[in-house]
Symmetry: C2
Subunit: 509 residues, 2 copies
Amino acid sequence: MTDEAKESYSSLMARSKEMFVLGSANSILYWDMETKMPPAAQAMRGEQLSALELIIHKKLTDPEIDVLLKRCEGDVNAFDQLQRRNLHLLRKSYDENSKIPDQLVTETAMHQSKCNMVWKKAKAARDFKMFRDDLAKMIDLREQAAEILMKVKGTKTPYDALLDQFEPNMTAERIDEVFAELRQGLIKLIGKVDSCGFKPDMSPMSRKVPVEVQKKISLDVMNFIKFDTTSDKAAGRLDETEHPFTTGTFDDVRITTHYYEDRFFSNVFSVMHEGGHALYDQGIPREWMYQPVGTPCSYGIHESQSRFVENIVGRSPEFLNYALPKFRKYSPRSFKGLKNKDIIAAANAVVPSKIRIEADEVTYALHVIIRFEIEKMIFSHKVTADELPQVWNQKYSDYLGVKVEHDGEGVLQDTHWSGGSFGYFPSYALGNIYSGMFLDKMQKDLPQWRKSVRGGDFSPVFGWLRSNVHSKGDLYDPADLVKVVTGKEVSVTPFLKYLDRKMSKIYGF
Amino acid sequence: MTDEAKESYSSLMARSKEMFVLGSANSILYWDMETKMPPAAQAMRGEQLSALELIIHKKLTDPEIDVLLKRCEGDVNAFDQLQRRNLHLLRKSYDENSKIPDQLVTETAMHQSKCNMVWKKAKAARDFKMFRDDLAKMIDLREQAAEILMKVKGTKTPYDALLDQFEPNMTAERIDEVFAELRQGLIKLIGKVDSCGFKPDMSPMSRKVPVEVQKKISLDVMNFIKFDTTSDKAAGRLDETEHPFTTGTFDDVRITTHYYEDRFFSNVFSVMHEGGHALYDQGIPREWMYQPVGTPCSYGIHESQSRFVENIVGRSPEFLNYALPKFRKYSPRSFKGLKNKDIIAAANAVVPSKIRIEADEVTYALHVIIRFEIEKMIFSHKVTADELPQVWNQKYSDYLGVKVEHDGEGVLQDTHWSGGSFGYFPSYALGNIYSGMFLDKMQKDLPQWRKSVRGGDFSPVFGWLRSNVHSKGDLYDPADLVKVVTGKEVSVTPFLKYLDRKMSKIYGF
């Protein structure tokens, strides 16, 4: 390697570290805003976050990065695989960030705040018309960015450029194929569930468990999944917010949950879901810290980890049979007269609903497919903002057989579009699909894993996820990672097989 | 005013805002580190804090600031008093920060971390020798900075330059005069207390109050002093740390306290002390936000506010007679068999001790005077690092009549020197002196203030502090502020008179 390439690479890594460090500082400010900040501090926090974001943006788009990258790219074969990946990721980030005009970046950031505020009001008022104009403007702003990004990234359509920000190298065309198969499989499975004659009694889900007891249970659950928030080496925290989230990396990863006395399992599964994200964030190889490769692979892969822990492990009869006796001990009255079997059936019940975040494991992806189809229509101008509620409600009727009564439970239910995050939704269903593929492979590597979970031991699963997924960081694009881990192309079959197997046992078909 | 001066001033204010915003972000990271951060995150947090500090330092010392300042200074009479103060404060900060070589800044910052770590170990081991070399190096580093700052600031001695960082325009010569008088007055008062024959029973101080009850009481106390942490307009928080502190400005000011079951009043007075700081930080005029003038005046004035609320109000018979019945109601058993009079006497007892932070209101300043005298000796080379324990112990014997048994309770007790904060200590006693002067004036403006406090109403005192002290921000140097508020030069007489009056009632002399 030339000295020039070597020095340029070192300099790029130093810059990468600087950006990561400032980014992680920003995450703390964001976490604080959501969990601890006094309410009066909102405006000051806005100033702090934008000041830091501006500094990071300037560093990301510093033309000197382009100069350094070019020096390395001129001698690219002298670098090893990991270094080349770092160069690739920096190049991608530099090109994408520097090609969007500052004016558009600023205008979008400003409109995000406004649009989000208006969305909240419109949702509360259940009135899409209040949101219509600001949403239309947001679509226009994202479309401007997408047109530019399409050229930079070389994607076929502007929407593909948006998708690529969440799921690198994934295209609407490929998602179309995958989702078509997924939709067909899910609808078939819902049909089996519907026609089998058994309907789980849902009342176990609303048994009251005192919040103080639920807090103890959170600790037990985190202990089970090995997310440490209590020891003197802890690299994690748990706090409370209305909408649970995970933030942080490496030695400082924080999750949140919510407690409702009459929705006990909501907390259990939130902690497992966010815990799954957190384990991934903590599990990136330490020697890659502050390098581009030292980050999670994609939104979809991240979601595969949270869903693996929440659904594949958390909602499994094995975990619940292990954990329920412990929960009973804490609060015998809450579970009096209930058999484990009934609780397990209720926790896995398939009930088509109108709200995505309340959906069960089987119908969930249909909510996502609806959003994906609508986003494609938006960015190919096949639907106007005005028509969105109508299109939304029709699809909910067609795919899930539910009647949306008002916009608040319809097109206004999610925050994503108000922030301009078009292309985000597909990651959720891709997460399901990836998790099924990972399960399929893990099943072969660790045939005894269910037995371990039944005995209260998450270590084999933890170890498998760590060495197969977490430890790969951002070394591959998501479809390539799946191939490296499972040896196969992305396929919905394992996920559908997993659901079918589980539901056939619960519903007895 | 010329357009050039006008534009330069606007540009300086924009830069000022940027630096304040980043500084306030840094405060949140610091607060998080002390209160919420998972222990494993220490190293990452170090990276975040230094990255931000470096960015702020670069902005502070950007030569463009000098250019802009010069343009304004060329037309200085066109600016009003407030604008001229802003220019003065920016000029001071620019000159001081830009004249110290980067090498010295970095070396000092690095040595601070090390020195603080070594100090902790040495204190635990009660062994000054472990700390000696690193302290000597820290003294040397600060001396190098002081030599430079002396020239920039035009002070008479290097130590004066250090003092000026905490108490602008205050000199060792002036402090000498003031402290001589203070020392004499305090020793005379201690003599009266000693010879009066009455010794308060100290057992009320160690009555047990359950921590949960103490938490409720914290809320009551904050409610009394009008530090809002609970409403939907709250601009404050209370958390727990071993060593209480206050951080933040304007809409986001956070205090901490500690709870010990058998040291109930420690929490009450911590909350009042930190609350006094917090009210000041919240009370700077909003229209000065992000301007240099929109900051507290000095460490000494800040301390005058915390001590005013903690001691002058909090330890007054009027406040305690108002609050004790409430405390009793929460936990009757804790105060059983005690008269208010006995509790008030114990809470105000004069007992010479070895530890500054545990000292009473009368002996406290003697601890500070000892440190000031030693710092002067250090920076005039009249004492070597080796001799410090011996000098320390001798002064404690001479001034306070106590025998220091080991370095842990002697020269190693405070963290300040390990961080290089020489010149900081005098602010604590100056705070006492200023608080006495403010009280003297408030007594004239609000002769009924004690009656209000006795009735549970802090508003008149709050209003007086806000309009006389808080609202002045950094418009004046501390001695000038005192003059503006009280019409008088800095004098120890009011503080000594206040103590004498209070102690004569409690001790009956």
